[in-house]
Amino acid sequence: MLALRPVQLSDLTQLQQLARDSLVGVTSLPDDTERLRQKILASCASFASDVKSQGPENYFFVLEDLAGQRLLGCSEVLATAGFNEPFYSLRNRPFTSESRELNIHHGVPALSLCQDLSAHTLLRGFHINTELERTPSSEMLSRARLMFIAAHPQRFSDAVITEIVGYSSDTGESPFWDALGKHFFDLPYVEAERLCGLQNRSFLAELMPHYPIYVPMLPQSAQACIGRIHPDGQEAFDILEREGFETNSYIDLFDGGPTLFARTPSIRSIAQTRTAVARLSSHSGGKTPYLLSNDSLENYRAIVAELDWSADEPVMLDATQLDALQLDNGGPVRLIAL
């Protein structure tokens, strides 16, 4: 059985293996022991802290196979983007050229460096073992974060965003980067992403173009990357799109990948989530897959189970499931159909 739980320090070795396998563009997962150790400690502190209003907390989850205690994926929620270090995006909005005398009026799309998405809650660091892609487990890995937000709304913003990894080739070439970032950073794309994961992101501010970039001036290959998703980022995108997230006019400044945005209360796994009483039953089981979680912090757990459940009734779970959720018979369980 697979369960999702907060990361702990003993996960370090396995986590680094996951980081090694993750997409280049997932910069929140650096393949660096010390950096990962810091991330784990920061996450433990975040779960433990008594938060009255959202701050710098980062909640780091892992997907574990309970049988072999093997980690198969991870995901994160940063309570506040831009809280500790600036959160940059490129805003894609038209610059309006207008002349009444010449009867000309048109918009030229322009990319401007901004920190508009600061203060939003950020989903990031989504990575799953390839065998589990497009399974209920990958769905859980992404959406259990939203269930957690539903259980602890005071810890998060009223809007949630995520950046989907943009297009790059199998050989690690990003046409968007080559046309834009490379001029300013003088680094190959892969190296820039790696530094981004390792370093304080203030180097971005020092090197990024502060004047607008007019889209028609970029080569076609780079224009085509604006809002384009890396094939391996498609699932992360699809899951959140079904949750009600939408693309907006912001893109990633390295690879041009899209940003997804949703108002927190309208996210499906938050709006439609229900709480019920969990009951130990030998007649558990059913036909509909559900995502279930407890409402704890440090002992937060989520699993997928097939149930026959109707609203206002107790949720029948077997002992293994209750145990995986760290719930006692009669405890509150949160659930939503997958």
Binding site: S99, L180, Y214
Partner: protein
């Protein structure tokens, strides 16, 4: 050959010149109505009836058979009636000490810094007359005119040289930049510009600086490069002390060359002399000579000898200048090299 203010009777000749210059020469359109307006305005300018902001000193080059073979002009000031735009090629430096990165990125800054300066412009010489010192006379005569009447002009003279273009008249600079904001081709934009819509067009351009590294390589290569046809004009002016100091045309990226009036050779080295009529020897140097008149301005180039405080010229030269012996003239050696000979 003389350079003199344009007259109404020059109109047919001007039209012929405008036609042979072609559509690229936007400041002299082959349009009778507009040329008539321009000539009338130039006459009022020479008569001292217009403000500096509107002054348009249009000269013609006329041979001894009273044939007009070229034109050139001086604008009293640019940018005082409507904004005058240029790009300045500046620099953005990107550094990160941590990463050991240091990038220098030439950046174009839109500006109105030439506002109030005077412009030399509209020079065209009939192709079959591009010989001897005709081009130099037509161009440098304007500088001697400024030397005589500095109060009518700004502190600096500027000239926008036509930018580099391919054989079809397409400008790589325009194609990489302006085109995206106007959605029209260069010749159309250039045409509108000639109709006096230049500032309207400029207002369609973005105000923020532009990184040149995002232009096409072809466009980057022509920043500040004059069209090959503008090369002779550039050489003449640079010999007079004009230099490119980083300003370029916002449409074709051609260089704006500039000079402080007081530092221009033909201004600084010109002197007021008494005219002496006689027979200068055949080895006498060529001088550029102005009769010091405004409305009846006559400027010519002729062999002359400096004798004390007088300039010895032949009778024909005095006639061309509409002067008698004893009149006062402003003169400067036509060529820089002869300047040294005269001084020695």
């Amino acid at each position: 050959m003389i350079v003199r203010p344009v007259q109404m009777t020059d109109l047919p000749a001007l039209l012929a010149l405008a036609r042979s210059a072609g559509p690229g020469f936007t400041s002299l359109p082959a349009n009778e109505e507009r040329l008539t307006l321009r000539v009338r305005w130039a006459q009022r300018t020479f008569a001292g009836q217009v403000e500096r902001a509107d002054a348009d000193y249009l000269f013609v080059l006329e041979d001894d058979d009273q044939q007009v073979i070229g034109v050139s002009a001086l604008a009293g000031a640019v940018g005082l009636r409507e904004p005058w735009y240029n790009y300045r090629v500046g620099l953005t430096v990107n550094t990160s000490a941590d990463l050991g990165i240091r990038r220098q990125i030439p950046t174009l800054f839109l500006n109105n810094e030439m506002t109030g300066q005077s412009e030399i412009c509209s020079l065209f010489l009939r192709p079959d007359q591009r010989q001897g010192h005709n081009g130099r006379l037509l161009s440098v005569a304007r500088l001697l005119f400024v030397a005589e009447f500095p109060h009518l002009f700004g502190e600096k003279l500027i000239a926008e040289l036509r930018g580099s273009a391919d054989e079809h008249g397409c400008s790589p600079f325009w194609d990489s930049l302006g085109r995206h904001f106007f959605k029209m081709d260069f010749s159309h934009a250039d045409h509108l510009s000639g109709l006096g819509n230049k500032s309207f067009i400029a207002e369609l351009m973005p105000r923020q600086p532009l990184y040149t590294c995002l232009l096409t390589e072809q466009a980057q290569a022509v920043i500040g490069k004059a069209h090959q046809n503008a090369e002779p004009a550039r050489r003449i002016l640079c010999n007079e002390g004009f230099a490119h100091k980083g300003y370029i045309d916002i449409f074709d990226g051609g260089p704006v060359i500039e000079a402080q009036v007081s530092k221009i050779r033909a201004v600084r080295n010109s002197q007021s002399l008494d005219l002496m009529v006689g027979t200068p020897d055949d080895n006498a140097p060529l001088w550029l000579i102005h009769n010091q008149r405004l409305e009846n301005c006559r400027i010519t180039a002729a062999r002359a000898r400096l004798v004390g405080n007088s300039l010895l010229v032949d009778r024909l030269t005095a006639k061309r200048l509409q002067l008698q012996a004893g009149s006062s003239v402003r003169a400067v050696p036509l060529l820089k090299q002869q300047q040294q000979a005269v001084a020695a």
